[in-house]
């Protein structure tokens, strides 16, 4: 069935079917063999396909060859499928584990290769400190809230609580002097701040008592070292009484 034309002239249909006359294979198949193969592989165009189908009807040998090509195809497929069925399931599962691992590694590498913005980097850098900072801020906010709810209503008047002196509100209107609507207030000079009452400071030395009077009677005090003696005179004949203080 195989013939070997030496040039295209001997088989002018070769080029139209697509077989090269200078391929790396020895011998060029006959036009009938080429068409049979292309028909079998479903590579013929509609018109050529119909024409070859009619030829098949007329030629029993051609039909037998076509059947044998089909048998060969089935045998090749079946033998390789049978070989594949002999591989244990566990071996394919093992291969899947490898595939899964490779995919995971590739995905991780792809994620790492994505350019990171300055904000992302800043966020990543502050991540270790974020929790303590948030905790501290939350604690401070809690303390302020507790003080506000449990303390006096006007915290600014409580000297124990830190208060911020009220700063004079900034004037919205420019300072151009008294307005005609309220001249009195505007012209009154500012009152001087009240001067605090100054008391004389007490003497640092101890008070000295030399005599004492009570109930129309009088006495004297004699100091003798650390002992103070109190003498009280009553009437004409003074009775001496001694008290130790």
């Amino acid at each position: 069935m195989t013939k070997k034309p030496t040039s295209k002239d001997k088989n002018p249909f070769i080029s139209t079917l697509g077989f090269p006359d200078g391929s790396d294979e020895p011998g060029i198949p006959s036009r009938r063999d080429q068409k049979l193969q292309m028909f079998f592989d479903d590579e013929l165009d509609g018109g050529e396909k119909d024409e070859f189908a009619r030829e098949l009807d007329r030629d029993s040998e051609l039909r037998r060859h076509l059947d044998q090509m089909g048998t060969m195809r089935n045998l090749v497929s079946r033998s390789l499928e049978l070989r594949a069925s002999e591989v244990p399931r566990a071996r394919f599962e093992q291969i899947w584990d490898e595939i899964d691992r490779s995919i995971e590694v590739e995905q991780r590498a792809a994620r790492a290769a994505v350019p990171v913005s300055i904000w992302s980097r800043l966020s990543a850098a502050t991540r270790p400190f974020r929790t303590p900072m948030l905790t501290a801020a939350a604690a401070a906010a809690l303390v302020v809230a507790v003080v506000q709810f449990t303390g006096p209503s006007d915290v600014n008047q409580d000297p124990q609580v830190a208060s911020v002196p009220e700063a004079p509100a900034p004037s919205v209107t420019p300072d151009v002097g008294p307005t005609p609507q309220n001249p009195a207030i505007a012209q009154r000079p500012p009152e001087p701040p009240p001067t605090p009452e100054v008391f004389p400071a007490p003497k640092s030395s101890a008070a000295e008592i030399h005599s004492i009077e009570f109930g129309g009677k009088a006495g004297r005090i004699s100091q003798n070292g650390t002992v103070t003696v109190l003498y009280v005179e009553e009437g004409e004949s003074p009775q001496k009484s001694e008290r130790s203080l």
Binding site: E25, Q34, Q37, N74, L75, S79, A84, I99, E106
Partner: protein
Amino acid sequence: MVSTDADDHTLVESARGGDRRAFQLLYERYERKVYSVAYGFLRNPEDALDVVQEAFIKVYRYLPNFEGQSSFYTWLYRIAANLCIDHLRRNVRKRDVEFDDKLRHDGDKDAPADLLPASAMGNPSDAVENKEILAAVEDSLQYLSDKHRAVIVMRELQGMSYADMAKAMNCSKGTIMSRLFHARRNMQKLLRQRLEQLPDPSEDGNEALTHEAALP
């Protein structure tokens, strides 16, 4: 969560969205088919498993680029075929063996009228379940050149078009057609030699595969 009986398109879309389970279902659906393709090319179980792994990793990587013009399995098979061809080329350098034909049928002046011996084959539908015949087919594939085996597997097992095969093997469509023709002839010759040594399948004692044993 996609169901196990979802079609390929649904699974592909889910996998594209990052659903790893959907991709696993695709893997489980085609793992053995890709293996059979790879084994057909490479004839080595461990090399074939390596190609399965590599093919699915590549598929996942390029899933966003999959336009859906062809079916998923066609795309997957094409990737697997390319990996096998790359593997063979690398391996040829290691083995220092030419990635070319080592068996030619062109010495046959008179090709037989029947490409396969009918006496040994018996009924074609029974032949595909016959262990000895299948072993003879596998043995015949072993003796084909890498290029011939590649076109046989791409066409007979994967159903690739001539154009796709030409693209995968980096040659013209005409070269593929010629190579396929000669590969088939060589395969028939090798198989014929082996089948002629087998006893008549109609005789008793020829071990046939049961459906339970044969089906994966």
